[in-house]
Amino acid sequence: MSDLTLRILHLFPRTLGMNGESGNVDILRRRASSRGIAVEITRLEPGVAVPLQVDLVFIGSGPVSAEVQAHPGVADVAPGLRLLAQQGVPFLAVGAGFQLLGETVTLADGTVLAGAGVFPVRTVIAGERVVGDFVVESRLGTLVGFENRGSYIDIGDAAPIGHVVYGRGNLAASGPGAGASAAAAAASDGSSTGATLVAPDARVEGFWVDNLIGTHLHGPVLANNPALADWLLETALARRASTALPPATPDLVEIDRRAAEARATIAAAPLSE
């Protein structure tokens, strides 16, 4: 494994770097380097072309003002990013970054921003903001984070990351008792023993098709969910060198034990505003 260097592309780290998002990249780096895999990180700000040799792409989140600020840079990177996506390079896109890599983002004043077209999703900035703990049941088990969004994202018929156990998810929930606060009330109702924490409808979160993952889980998302980080590294390694990800080293085992406790703590008593 000595001559293998994993190349991570971090898009727009300055504009979309608020609220710990860069932690996701630090976590990927650490989880690779502890296992003896060297990592090279390219921080790409708007106005620079996408490099051709990339093994993993990350883009973080930020407020709407930062999203608008980052948007002019999207057109320049769009063709390069779509090529990487077609080649099977794994992507993790969070919040505003996920929205900008979609097809369109409609702002509150009706302005429509063209996205990079990597994800076949459309965002509308609208609706009541949801702020609170976020629990999602995925194929990697329970994912936990923090939800803080004032937008809807339509993924069409594509597969989500998973079902919402607590929180709102991609769209306004429909059906009786399906508001975010109603779900919160239902989920936190009663004592901790035997309380049902399943949201009362079929709400889903994010996007996960093939190598592409988009989400509004914050925390940062990889901090609480190391399985997701390892899936990204595994996918990158398999594609790059048909190599398996070595098992977690003792330092990672201890970190993952703590993250499991963090997930359990949040999932046992999620809260929202």
């Binding site: 608020m18 003002s65 703990d133 901090a223 609480n224 703590r258 703590t265 505003e273």
Partner: protein
């Protein structure tokens, strides 16, 4: 004074006495007074002769309000102020109840009010301040305000409500030209620190990033009061070409900037009667505000409290540590609902954590794992964790350190037997 306000005073004061006998319940009397008389604050505070001064910003409101009140008192003014943390309408109303006469008169020349950013527009619309002091706009409580731009807009409304004077931090990315975006006219002055001090601080003034283009750079305004040197617990302020040494409540450039802001505001209020020399006397006599660099005496040990209200306050407080603290306790709970930002913090001034507690403890323990900072014990039971920490042998430096969020600072003070609660009456 109307019948409603008179009733509000009588009932509110009775509730206040009852609440104090039970030990706590600080904002309740104010809440009740405002229910009875919605114009309670206007009816009482607006009658103060020199009017209202509003102090707002992300960090340092309590400390600066305390400093400004002291400087004005040193100049002979009678000051009405709200106790630290009591910066919502009900908290201010509770403070009024503590000092108002039954006829609705506050015995004060001027009111200095710490104002919450979120309630700022509402409070200043009610109270029409003559003077507004804005300290900083930092990444704060994203779960509450969602984005810094919203805080900027709220503080613009607060600033625009001032009728006479506006005092701004020139070293803040958003405040440096905030005056240019306001309608109306008023006297505008700035405070700040020397460029050397700003560039020498590990993370500057931790001002929130600004994403619009073509604006004036932070620092590029002439300051009326400038911090020119910062020592362990003191700083030098340049005021009208004169160097004035002042004592700070705790280490750090951010406290020196608070002192500069308070001084510049006192100067704007007092005009020709302002005396730089009185600033030294005023700030020398202050005690620290709860949890802001405070030292608690527990038995024969002292415990230094580092508050982590938000990323900026934690980063600046960590930056001001002179060496890695010998024994460290950390408690964080739901008062910090989304601790994602701990991944933005440079933690290198810590070399270990002895005990972590509070409902967010495991998220912090995970973060410390990634930062390679060893963690002793994680125990979600705050009392047990506290017991464990207090039982550690006496540190050779004679001081234990606690890093706490606001809610845990309040509850741990209570557990340790410090009864007075922030936001309460005097």
């Amino acid at each position: 004074m109307g019948f409603r306000t008179a009733t509000a005073i009588l009932v509110g004061r009775a509730v206040r006495v009852a609440a104090r006998l039970r030990g706590g319940g600080s904002a309740i009397p104010g809440t009740i007074a405002l229910k009875i008389a919605p114009t309670f604050l206007e009816d009482t505070i607006s009658r103060i002769p020199l009017g209202v001064v509003a102090v707002s910003g992300s960090n340092g409101k309590s400390t600066t309000t305390n400093m400004l009140a002291a400087i004005l008192r040193e100049h002979g003014l009678k000051v009405f102020t709200n106790p630290s943390g009591g910066n919502l309408p009900q908290g201010i109303a509770s403070a009024v109840l503590a000092s108002v006469s039954v006829t609705g008169v506050l015995d004060a020349d001027i009111a200095i009010l710490e104002v919450d950013e979120g309630y700022g527009p509402k409070i200043t619309k009610m109270l029409k301040p003559t003077t507004v002091l804005l300290l900083n706009i930092q990444i704060d409580q994203l779960n509450r305000y969602h984005e810094p731009d919203r805080v900027v807009r709220m503080l613009e409304q607060v600033a625009g409500s001032s009728t006479r004077a506006l005092i701004l931090n020139r070293d803040d990315n958003h405040l440096v030209d905030l005056d240019k975006r306001l309608p109306g006219t008023r006297e505008v002055t700035f405070f700040g620190a020397s460029p050397e001090l700003i560039s020498g601080a590990a993370h500057g003034v931790a001002s929130a990033d600004r994403f619009d283009e073509g604006h004036i750079d932070a620092g590029a305004r002439e300051a009326e009061v400038t911090v020119t040197d910062v020592g362990d617990l003191q700083a030098v302020l340049a005021i009208d070409g004169r160097d004035v040494a002042v004592r700070l409540p705790a280490r750090g450039l951010h406290y020196a900037l608070d002192a500069a802001g308070a001084t510049a505001t006192a100067k704007a209020i007092l005009g020709d009667t302002f005396r730089p020399g009185l600033v030294t006397a005023a700030l020398g006599g202050l005690s620290t505000v709860y949890g802001r660099g405070e030292l608690l005496q527990v038995g024969d040990e002292s415990i230094e409290i580092i508050m982590m209200k938000n990323p900026a306050s934690l980063q600046l407080n960590l930056d001001s540590l002179q060496s890695a603290p010998e024994q460290v306790f950390m408690a964080v709970d739901e008062g910090t609902p989304d601790p994602s930002w701990i991944y933005d913090i440079d933690l290198s001034n810590l070399d270990h954590i002895d005990v972590i507690t509070g409902s967010k403890a495991w998220q912090f323990a995970t973060r410390f794992g990634y930062a390679d900072i060893p963690v002793g014990t994680v125990d979600l039971d705050v009392r047990e964790a506290l017991k464990l920490f207090l039982a550690l042998p006496r540190p050779t430096m004679g001081r234990k350190t606690m890093i706490l969020n606001y809610e845990q600072m309040m509850s741990i003070r209570k557990i340790l037997g410090f009864k007075e609660l922030e936001g309460g009456g005097q």
